[in-house]
Symmetry: C2
Subunit: 212 residues, 2 copies
């Protein structure tokens, strides 16, 4: 069983190596250099990279091409991601920014259904997707075989939206932006996004650098 932090690091290695491979056309890279770029200890990098199979040579470093494609094999590729149909709830500022985000199609993130409760938005289309009313959630999620939900509704509405989504019986994972703790059955995976935590981390490291 691989833990959440390991996969988070693998995603970061992939993003970093993608740039080295395609943009900087680098051939070789050491665990020390990867660690330096990503704020990780070289021992952690070596441990991670050997967890999924031996690919580096001591003293020489890793082949960027070999390492990149080896790690990409661990993560779901765009083709795999596309198998998971996604619904987005709340077509407000954040929801619209996500619907228009160019990286989603590149990574195979396929948002097939969009929901809102505002009668002036329902029935329109946005970026080619029809906006359903929240009352249609059960039928639409089943008909479109949706398994992941992105929550972009106000905090006060989030739990009631979740209860309806869970009631559809098809959801396996939730990416939640609403600043509330959601109560969800144990078999559904929830990932809570909080941009303020990203800023707290940034401030921690700036202080660390300034005052050591």
């Amino acid at each position: 069983q691989v833990g959440v932090p390991t996969i988070e690091r693998i995603v970061r290695y992939c993003r970093y190596l993608e740039r080295l491979y395609y943009v900087e056309k680098r051939d070789v890279i050491s665990s020390a250099e990867i660690g330096e770029a990503l704020g990780l200890k070289p021992t952690q990098v070596r441990k991670d990279l050997s967890y999924f199979g031996e690919i580096g040579k001591r003293g020489v470093g890793y082949s960027v091409e070999e390492l990149y494609f080896h790690l990409m094999g661990i993560l779901p590729c765009p083709k795999d991601c596309r198998l998971f149909k996604i619904a987005l709830f709340g077509v407000g500022r954040l929801g619209k920014a996500l619907l228009d985000y160019e990286m989603f199609s590149k990574r195979g993130i396929d948002i097939v259904a969009v929901f809102d409760k505002n009668r002036q938005k329902v029935g329109k289309t946005i970026n080619g997707r029809y906006i359903y009313h929240i009352d249609e959630v059960e039928t639409v999620l089943r008909a479109q075989n949706v398994s992941i939900a992105i929550i972009c509704v106000p905090a006060a509405e989030a739990q009631s939206v979740i209860d309806r989504i869970v009631g559809s019986g098809v959801i396996k994972g939730i990416l939640n932006f609403a600043p509330v703790d959601l109560t969800v059955p144990k078999d559904i995976l929830v990932s809570n996004m909080d941009i303020s935590a990203e800023l707290e981390k940034l401030i921690y490291f700036i202080r660390e650098k300034e005052y050591g």
Copy 2:
């Protein structure tokens, strides 16, 4: 030197314990239960919690109150965060959603200046903040003593905005949402946000659970 992943876990422990302390009014918690809730191995939890000083008792677990306030002491508290003035670039859908995000003020995240290049937006105010034109960036960042920038401009514009920000000489950290790799001097910390990576991680763990 504490690594980035350790601080990421500390932030997650704090959010989790905040709920246990204030909402569920729990007294004691074990490393196993923390690990279960956050997708971490209990050994990793124990290692993290002992890194910053001994607080638990073998066999009994940790006092939720003691642990919560101990960990909160490691992270910048709202009062500390408020010392770091923040500027946001790009008052579009994402920028507006961030300016209106209620958790920022709760965590001491203080966005003092906002910039755009669209003449129809410049000169207006949003959530009480005046929208400056990007051409005023050097003067305003210095005058307001800004040290952190949040980038919400289109990918094609991001590097040129960064170059101007760096030119001001006061920026120490950048939270970047634009889907491009930014070239930034080594002494400036950059944190790149990518929601598609969050969804890739979610899909990885759903697959792991389904097919093991």
